[in-house]
């Protein structure tokens, strides 16, 4: 476990020791680098959190917006922070941190801060486009080529490489069907194994697509498409006779002030750091949850972590810190430098939504077709997110677009309670996550504010492919999927 770093990678022009093949996010954390990205408007510090992808996006070897948690470290890899000007090491955009959150409500692309027309607008637009764009375009000399995709017909497609997905895939091939299993992670059932749960081996007859994110269900589930995170490998279109969504659940970030601070991690990310990479999330760790916190804390302790607090997610009132977490306020003040959350757990609704939502307004009312089933913990449903009616206005709901509870309250208190409209007024959930977890948080905040229930509101529409495929990978599908004629 304490294997020494054997290579160096470059972070903002500096050498950082790393282990060959570990994730770049883990290597940076080990080196004490917890701020990896900056939010778009207020330049808040963001890091590896598990919940928010935007905290691990950086420029890698001239490619913008690469996920560092899925990128293996290689000797000489050039990794650079984005959203800085003029350079990551001398970044004047940090001054944006001095702005009050209110200054950017609906700001930037919404025109509130800009002259209304003429040359003044064009100049302002150019500046805003540079700020809002966050990342420089890809280097011109990369010369990307179309990456041929492939098609696969299969009796059963299993999405998710946890214990439930493995069991489902095994059962199908043992029953004589052909089965494929797609999993975003590079290895199977990493979280379950790290928690000490026994995991069955995958039957070798199951075709395994690891490191691949299945992002789209098309034509009512007749076609499902995924793409590998490795930008050099082609996308895959499946024609499954049936599909099993065993995508598990993810812990939702707490709805309190400071929830975006580096040092706040979900259970999956924290265990990956500790168990897979041998990096402790902090010297003093607080663990909260909706029941799983005790088991998670015990596991973290067994792996060598110093857990100073274990408590209920609903008791958390504030996360303190400027550069990273320095403490939390729960039933009492706790000094800690990392907060790990294990619940409330929610199922990512995107794939099921894509299969079933139909009609002019795509309101999710239809049940799933018989060919598509949920399995494992994803089938157990989602837990409610505790949200107070009066959250601190700076509580971040959507870190990509810097949407705070205060900004949502501005609209909700003025009578606007349609989630589709709130999405359009604030851009909440329109960044890297494309709605998960940010719309879960938005719906919880909205419901608490108007004394309703989150399920009473129609969800905004979940749309593929939510950044799981590059243009070059998608171009390689032209010859694979024919138009529906």
């Amino acid at each position: 476990m304490t294997q020494a770093p054997d290579i160096t990678i470059r972070w903002n022009g500096r050498d950082i020791p790393a282990r060959d093949g570990e994730s770049v996010a883990a290597a940076l954390w080990r080196a004490g680098i917890t701020t990896i990205a900056r939010s778009r408007k207020l330049h808040r510090r963001l890091g590896y959190s598990g919940a928010y992808l935007t905290g691990v996006l950086a420029r890698v070897d001239g490619r913008p917006n690469v996920r560092l948690d899925l990128t293996p470290a290689r000797a000489g890899l050039e990794v650079e922070m984005q959203n800085t000007w003029p350079s990551p090491r001398f970044d004047l955009l940090k001054l944006a941190q001095l702005l009050p959150a209110k200054a950017v409500y609906g700001g930037f692309e919404h025109g509130a801060m800009m002259p209304a027309s003429g040359l003044g607008y064009r100049v302002a637009e150019r500046i805003m486009a540079n700020l809002a764009g966050v990342a420089r375009p890809a280097d011109a000399d990369l010369n990307p080529q179309e990456i041929p995709g492939r098609g696969a017909e299969v009796d059963c497609l299993v999405v998710g490489g946890g214990p439930a997905g493995i069991a489902e895939a095994n059962a199908r091939v043992q029953g004589g069907q052909s089965a494929a299993l797609v999993t975003r992670g590079n290895e199977l059932a990493r979280f379950a194994r790290s928690m000490g749960v026994a995991v069955p081996a995958l039957d070798p007859r199951v075709q395994l697509f690891a490191g691949t994110e299945l992002f789209g269900c098309y034509r009512g589930g007749a076609i499902m498409v995924g793409a590998p995170h490795d930008h050099r490998a082609g996308a895959v279109a499946f024609w499954p006779k049936s599909a099993v969504l065993a995508t598990g659940r993810r812990s939702m970030p707490p709805l309190v002030k400071g929830n975006q601070l580096p040092g706040v991690l979900d259970a999956h990310a924290a265990l990956e750091l500790v168990d897979t990479h041998g990096v402790l999330p902090g010297a003093r760790i607080a663990v909260i949850g909706t029941g799983a916190e005790t088991a998670l804390a015990a596991r973290l302790k067994a792996l060598g972590a110093n857990v100073v607090y274990t408590g209920k997610a609903a008791h958390l009132k504030e996360i303190r810190g400027r550069k990273r977490v320095i403490g939390i306020l729960a039933e009492q003040n706790i000094a800690c430098d990392a907060l790990v959350h294990a619940g409330p757990w929610r199922t990512d609704p995107s794939l099921a939504f894509q299969v079933s939502a139909e009609g002019h307004y795509q309101v999710l009312a239809e049940p799933l077709p018989q060919t598509v089933t949920l399995a494992g913990i994803a089938a157990e449903g989602s837990e409610p997110i505790p949200a107070a009616k009066h959250l601190h206005h700076d509580t971040l709901i959507c870190p990509c677009m810097d949407v705070t509870a205060g900004e949502l309250y501005c609209h909700v208190d003025a009578g606007e309670t349609d989630p589709e409209v709130l999405k359009r007024l604030t851009s909440c959930g329109m960044g890297t996550c494309q709605g998960f977890p940010c719309w879960e948080s938005m719906l919880a905040v909205l419901a608490a504010r108007v004394d309703g229930l989150p399920d009473e509101f129609a969800r905004p529409t979940h749309r593929p492919p939510r950044r799981a495929i590059t243009v070059a990978q998608a171009a390689g599908l032209v010859a694979i999927v024919e138009p529906d004629t």
Binding site: R63, G111, P144, L425, T432, Q434, R463, V471, A472, A474
Partner: protein, 384 residues
């Protein structure tokens, strides 16, 4: 928000998209009172929130170019008149021909545009390098550039329109479905929402893909068919592409939004269906076009992909005016460039409804043109 619906209105507008709200705004400016807007969906839920937001004055036919020259002039006045920044930006609109034949068509269109006073020109190679540095020049045969064209983000436009309507007493109701239309003799007289009757002096349908159904509620027919169009947005980057772009040979159009996303769409031949679900072939085709025309986009990730519906007329030109068989029943329908055209449509239709004067720029788009003057031939649109 949940105040009871009124029992009568001077003008009932069916559809609260950019067409309906543009008409409401222009009518209100002309002093019309008691305007009621009804929309079955949510704000920006239809094509007004799903389109490419591209705006240009110049086409290949006189009728289109006159209408869209007016629309560009109107766009320039909206921020001031609405009292909200709608972020209309005249960053230019480039129509790219990849084949010689289409290049000739662009030259032809240029003559029409110039004769009508539209600022438009064919770019030299040096100008192409300057304006579109990232484009794959080997694929470009000719570029017609319209400096007065540009884009306006639909969220800002719709926000401005709705805010104006609310400030000026226009009653706008979303998630409210019109279930019936009543006629008295040869004129329309009332709108039904469930069993609630709203007496109306005039009804204007701006209902996008639902226009034929609205016409049917009053027992009349409307030319055209429903069409599904898809678009997608790439993950934001800092500016790479300055003007709005249409590729007339690849049937694609796109621009980089002011928040850095490259947003656009294309068409693939497929069976017509009224669905809002996106499908793989458009994503793949659009990606291939991006990769070939702007190779630097190859490494960019695709953020989201969606579909929208519109009601296209059989010549793809808008259907604007009073229905020939039913008095006081007006349409702004058949739009495929409806977002761009909304300011002109709103102005001309409001004028026609309020004063009875039919502007010469409105006349060619009359609903009965297929039986009278014939279809409008327009080669400069990116539709098939």
């Amino acid at each position: 928000m949940n105040a009871p619906l009124p029992k009568r209105a001077s003008v009932v507008i069916i559809g609260g998209g950019v067409q309906g709200l543009s008409c409401a705004f222009n009518l209100a400016e002309l002093g019309q009172r008691n305007i009621l807007v009804l929309d079955v969906g949510y704000w920006q839920g239809g094509a007004s929130g799903r389109n490419g937001t591209l705006i240009r004055p110049g086409f290949a036919s006189v009728a289109w170019t006159e209408l869209f020259k007016l629309t560009v002039a109107e766009w320039g006045t909206w921020s001031k008149r609405l009292g909200e920044n709608i972020m209309f930006t005249q960053r230019g609109y480039s129509v790219v021909a990849e084949k010689e034949k289409s290049a000739a068509m662009l030259e032809e269109g240029l003559r029409v545009q110039r004769s009508l006073g539209v600022n438009s020109r064919m770019l030299t190679r040096a100008e192409i390098n300057d304006l579109l540095p990232a484009i794959n020049k080997s694929r470009v045969h000719a570029v017609q550039h319209q400096p007065d064209g540009g884009v306006a983000p639909h969220h800002a436009v719709m926000k401005g329109l709705l805010a104006f309507c609310k400030r000026n007493g226009v009653d706008v109701r979303y998630r409210t479905k019109v279930t019936g239309l009543e006629r008295t003799g040869d004129r329309i007289s009332a709108v039904m929402v469930g069993d609630h009757r709203i007496d109306a002096d005039c009804v204007l349908a701006c209902a996008g893909p639902n226009n034929p159904d609205i016409a049917a509620l009053a027992g009349v027919e409307l030319n055209g068919f429903g069409m599904r169009i898809e678009a997608m947005a790439l993950e934001p980057t800092r500016p790479l592409i300055k003007p709005a772009i249409a590729l007339i040979d690849s049937l694609a159009y796109f621009h980089q939004t002011s928040r850095g996303e490259i947003m656009g769409g294309t068409e693939v031949p497929e069976r017509p269906r009224m669905s809002l679900k996106a499908d793989v072939p458009v994503m793949a085709s659009m990606a291939k076009i991006y990769l070939e025309m702007f190779p630097q986009l190859g490494e960019v990730r695709i953020l989201r992909h969606w579909a929208g519906q519109l009601h296209a007329s059989s010549d793809f030109a808008p259907l604007m005016g009073e229905h020939p068989e039913l008095q006081d029943f007006w349409f702004s329908a058949g739009w495929s460039y409806g977002f761009a055209g909304a300011p002109a449509a709103g102005k001309l239709l409001a004028q026609a409804i309020k004063t009875g004067q039919i502007d010469h720029r409105l006349k060619p788009f009359a609903l009965n043109r297929f039986e009278t003057t014939g279809p409008i031939i327009e080669a400069g649109i990116v539709m098939a």
